[in-house]
Symmetry: C2
Subunit: 350 residues, 2 copies
Amino acid sequence: MDLKIALLGGDGIGPEVLAQSVKCLQAVEETFNHHFTYTEGLIGAVAMDKYGSPLPKQTIDLCKASDAILFGTIGTLKYDDNPSARVRPEQGLLQLRRELQLFTNIRPVKIFPTLINKSPLKKHVIFGTDFVIYRELTGGIYFGEKKLSEDGTRASDLCEYSEKEISRITHLAFKAAKNRRKKLTLVDKANVLETSRLWRKVVTRISESYPEVQLDFLFVDNAAMKMMLDPNDFDVILTDNMFGDILSDQGSAICGSKGLLPSASIGNEHAMFEPFHGSYPQAAGKNIANPVASILSTAMMLSHFGLHEESLAVVIAVDKSMKKHVVTKDLNASSKYGTTQVGDFIAGNI
Amino acid sequence: MDLKIALLGGDGIGPEVLAQSVKCLQAVEETFNHHFTYTEGLIGAVAMDKYGSPLPKQTIDLCKASDAILFGTIGTLKYDDNPSARVRPEQGLLQLRRELQLFTNIRPVKIFPTLINKSPLKKHVIFGTDFVIYRELTGGIYFGEKKLSEDGTRASDLCEYSEKEISRITHLAFKAAKNRRKKLTLVDKANVLETSRLWRKVVTRISESYPEVQLDFLFVDNAAMKMMLDPNDFDVILTDNMFGDILSDQGSAICGSKGLLPSASIGNEHAMFEPFHGSYPQAAGKNIANPVASILSTAMMLSHFGLHEESLAVVIAVDKSMKKHVVTKDLNASSKYGTTQVGDFIAGNI
Ligand SMILES: CC(C)[C@H](C(=O)O)[C@@H](O)C(=O)O
Ligand SMILES: CC(C)[C@H](C(=O)O)[C@@H](O)C(=O)O
């Protein structure tokens, strides 16, 4: 298969973990006889420094012309400490999601058996946890109108949803549930929010087309509780942009290391793959960042294009790195392996 | 001291846990020579059934004429399953918060040493956890304009904050931090939301009046993560209505039983005290609900009126019930004690 891949390393540890992903994809090309091309683009703080914009036009064009985008991470300390700056690196990511209409963010939360001891949760609580969050990514309070009064004393953010925005992600979530344990939990705050009530109405109606999937509802506060007490009861979680942001980070913490989980952002025409974790500017350039989340994102990409055997080969190589303890220091404080060594090992085992 | 106390039992297990609180307060009256009067009022589903409104005028009047309100819980299965009903029990609670301007919700999250094994988190993670959440309670997306388009295909909720709304709770939170470990964490999503940026601006300015308190900022997704990985690092968390709802429920799950944590909702003129937990309609009338959260809410009430010795007496009696294993089944599956027996024991030890 031929694939055009855009590489957006972004800020912090993004570029270095992404480089390990490319290594792995090159190994896939060789082993399975594919032909991928890679083109780099700038986004985030690094793009602001060079072009004055966190998402330059060249980058948008590059992404639109690509089959898939591999994304690193975004954000630097300089901007994190100054959230009132009118232009911020994160805007690049938000704009890109919107521009490419990547309306579904898929975040699998699965515990690696070899790493179960890393979880902050007790073994009997976390054991068997394997769920996936379908987070709406281009609507809701993230993109609704924002206002600041002239005198700066009042601010507002509008959370809006349309039936259409809800229904397109809902179909994807039901399809995923059908291929999994056949349970879908809609997380909302329908006892308070009008948008949540619309979500319930639309999702309930669509559920009739998926009779084999069991649908239930959970208020977001109860969901945050349940994720601590009973995470292995979840199968597919469907939720809006803001709730999905919070719950998926809570979900990633369950797994004990922030460096392990991949994610996919899917639209009708484009698809982007990125680690779950942040940009950890403190770790940038030190060869200590864990490349696994980024590498597993390539496995999601390969699956997305129907290359299931290839995807599995990546996952198996990652598993092997863990079994052989070829891991970064976040997983094993006495490890002598850095980002590139772990990347080399995994690529070498594909 | 003379105190007029309004008792709003509400739905589900509310009335039965509240009855145990009254027992404890009567014990306090006797032991410390105070005079409390108790008047019952209806709220929630029970009020809807009787008066067609979840917050009848009599109840508002009663609350306004009282020194303090003890609240039970709200919500029934009938309404939970039908969140699109235009009138819902929760509206009674939301209206009451607004009507009495109870703008600060205080939710302490503290692990009982005797119950540390009940936490879903590993001992070394949870050990020493003792923080308090200051949640804004009468603003934000809970109370902003809600819209549903005529054809029912679009919905919106507005999240609004003013400097004044932010500043009044911020002062209370800083004062609390001053009397604790002197750390305040503002939780927001300032990299995306305009309201969050206003929070940062106002809180940063106010922090100058509390130089002994260390202020830091955390995005809400990172906060949800940190609450799993490092909960004992928090001291005072300050946040908006929606984020506070989610984080405080996550915080309560940390403690292993939902039945343990109290809360206070404070305004300039009124104060209400209630357990953190929901109405568990499934448990209602079975004498199995844990009354501790409700009883500890009376301890918060006593402190609020400067009755610190009395408050401590309640807390010590609760501790004793745990040490002597006089607890409900949620804490010890083989326990033979029910709601009333635990209430009697605690009241008898004041
Ligand atoms: C960087 C930020 C805007 C982003 C979000 O909140 O969507 C991040 O937290 C994420 O979850 O991908
Ligand atoms: C019942 C509901 C409206 C309420 C809220 O979300 O505020 C509850 O969850 C709480 O936290 O007190």
